[in-house]
Symmetry: C2
């Protein structure tokens, strides 16, 4: 432990400024009703002594911490391996910093730790929470509701039926998927496959719905399960080639999945896009530009999603604003054409 | 904002259990002196109502939050781009989780935000802090000392003269560098260069000292400044080839730097290791295995450093333990031989 100098107390500030404890407390907590010369004297004493108000005590009065928690319902190892989270965090970090709010990232090893996250959120350490990557059966939403902190979700929560007042930011996953599959159909492809994401996440389920909107009751063998990782994309592509060797197009649920699929196609000697056209989702850079060939993909503005989540939360933290927040904000996607389709 | 059910209060628990508020408070805060049947009734009421104690209030009594802050004195973008931090966080996360402590990662956009980090640490939200990547003139150590939370540093802090009671975990940077440079000299190399890290960090300064321990007053033109990034390694290697075209060995301050240097050597047609031998530092995987050729490097156990930091902090948080903590723990390094030297 570092040897620490004793922290200057409220009493020390009061003595230095020649005012009462109550006056110091009012100034420090930003309350009205203290005359300007006294405010000035207290401020000078605070500065000279390097006084830091005990925020645990202060927050009992003001109920503000100027801190926002970010919770990613994934193991710590995935948070750092997936550039998606880094991009969202970048947007969040910029927005919170611009409003002098501290970003508090709560990491876990796995689902067993979510109860502890709930306790921290309930513990009066943050003004609100931004929550990502929830799976359908995750206990976290219930824990967060009990914690009673304002929350904005990243991605439409799967348990929400649209009637309860859940605030989230999402991309138009279904519409983006439709556009991708229509583009493949427009190229004359008739055996268009889909490698899904983990279907207990709404982003993956919505992209599958978009595929089905266009393909209708196509051969169900053309839909193979992936998990948003390159390794999952490789596994799924092998299964596809095995099951439907006449496949002539693949819509992959994200760019990492597409990168794995492209590797397997190359190994198996299929030319992309001539024999098999491939489209991803995200427009994650540098991944989407560095695949061989460069990836045609559905772009979503991931950093902007993070920024918008933070903006909605901060906007709703003011008194009386909570009711004004919209329920769901869905950002548009765009098809980015490179070489793979 | 999510519409939240009103949080059950202490009063509601007291009414349900048929006891006084004070009794509920004592049970919830783990105090002694409440008879077992009453404890049982309170616990049942807490469970039935889903009561979550207000930790801001509770922590004023218990002064424990079961949460530890991790502060990386680098912009958020670097934290996610450098695998070094991910590895240390992995070690920390495992250790904290094993002791049911919440990992609270405090992110910043830059040095201007460090005052806000200091306020959060001082605010009674965590029991201690693990602090990384301090630069020599960083205001953070002072802010942390004022915050009065127990702290363990990752890497020897540059401002510590060894006499104050600062706890840190470090690798034997100087000894590891000596071993690397001796290995190069042992191969018969006489024009051994060093690409440094940012010299306002002790890890970089210590590695330069280790190089000088072996090379003595060699041509000072052989020491070029880098910054622990691949781009910095590229720049420095170009400068080196320009200035000392007869260079026959390079000790790079870390593996990322070495990967940049190897790229420039390849471009300029120098064969590695035949014409120029290269050694890195870290044994960062997969970087060190995937360079061309695979990198000989000085291994430090980064994940173990993180685990040990957490262990020292948790060990020192108990009453009366603070004095027992060692001041600095320095882990040994080992030379890992691959192809580049």
């Amino acid at each position: 432990m570092t040897e620490t100098a004793p922290r200057p107390t409220l009493e020390a500030v009061a003595a230095r400024a020649g005012v009462s404890r109550a006056t110091v407390s009012r100034v420090v907590n930003g309350a009205d009703g203290v005359r300007e010369p006294l405010v000035e004297r207290v401020r000078r004493a605070v500065e000279e002594l390097g006084y830091v108000p005990n925020q645990a005590a202060r927050s009992l009065v003001t109920r503000r911490h100027d801190a926002v928690a970010v919770v990613v319902a994934e193991p710590e190892t995935r948070v750092f391996a997936d550039p998606f989270f880094a991009l969202q965090l970048r947007g969040i970090s910029k927005e919170l910093t611009a409003h002098d709010n501290q970003l508090v990232l709560l990491l876990t090893e796995g689902r067993d730790d979510h109860a502890r996250v709930g306790r921290y959120l309930a513990g009066g350490h943050v003004d609100g929470a931004l929550v990502f990557s929830l799976h359908l059966d995750d206990p976290l939403p219930g824990l967060i509701q009990r914690a009673g902190v304002p929350t904005v979700f990243g991605g439409r929560p799967g348990w929400s039926d649209g009637t309860t007042d859940v605030v989230y930011v999402d991309s138009d996953n279904r519409g983006g998927a439709r556009e991708a599959v229509r583009h493949l159909a427009g190229l004359g492809r008739t055996r268009v496959a889909h490698i899904t994401g983990p279907l207990d996440q709404t982003s993956a389920a919505d992209r599958l719905d978009g595929y089905r909107d266009v393909m209708g009751d196509a051969d169900p063998g053309l839909v193979v399960r992936g998990d948003f990782t390159p390794a999952g994309g490789e596994r799924a592509m092998r299964e596809l080639l095995d099951r439907c060797p006449d496949v002539d197009a693949v819509f992959a649920a994200n760019d990492l999945t597409a990168s794995g699929a492209l590797r397997v196609l190359r190994e198996s000697g299929r030319r992309v896009p001539e024999e098999v056209a491939v489209i991803g989702f995200d427009d994650m850079l540098p991944v989407a530009e560095q695949t061989d060939p460069p990836l045609t993909t559905v772009r979503q503005d991931i950093e902007e999603m993070g920024r918008l989540m933070a903006r909605l939360l901060l906007g709703g933290l003011g008194p009386g604003d909570a009711g004004a927040a919209p329920t769901g904000v869905v950002l548009p996607t765009t098809l980015v054409r490179r070489t793979s389709a």
